[in-house]
Symmetry: C2
Subunit: 98 residues, 2 copies
């Protein structure tokens, strides 16, 4: 939830046009969760932009060797506001009297 808050702050407080999430290893699935929660629940006007995956060497000091880990970058972009559709008139509801 901290990541979600950070992204929402980036868009709404800092006024960013795009925010990039970066994750590696097993945190990748969490990054996807965060992007989806932001897009579907918090910021409706934000869309998934570019998604990139890759891999990088990571040094493990304890074992004195390197390990390859997968990386991911998800760019969230603020979409242009669409022209609003005219609100539909409410139809008078007919109720069946019992």
């Amino acid at each position: 939830m901290n990541y979600v808050l950070a992204i929402v702050t980036g868009f709404n407080v800092s006024g960013a046009e795009e925010v990039t999430l970066k994750a590696r290893g097993s945190a990748i699935s969490r990054a996807v969760d965060v992007a989806e929660v932001v897009r579907c629940r918090f910021l409706r006007g934000v869309e998934i932009g570019k998604i990139e995956i890759g891999s990088e060497e990571m040094r493990i000091e304890e074992m004195n060797r390197t390990r390859t880990v997968s990386t991911m970058e998800i760019t969230l972009t603020r979409s242009k506001p669409k022209p609003r559709a005219k609100p539909k008139r409410k139809r008078s509801q007919k109720r069946k009297e019992e």
Copy 2:
């Protein structure tokens, strides 16, 4: 490693032009690992194509409710073969004698 083997088989035995990996939840990071292993170690002529993320409702029978899980699709495509660069000559290795 079974997933890697399945993709390699898809490209080399079945002759597919593209293979799509689908994963959801915590398996997403593994799908990225698989795509990277295939691309970097097994099939050099394969590139990452389209990557899509999303979410779907999943029914949990035991608890009799639904849960939203993140999903991911990675499309691997066979790239056009590039003209080969000339192989570099091996330099003779100089060793320090102790």
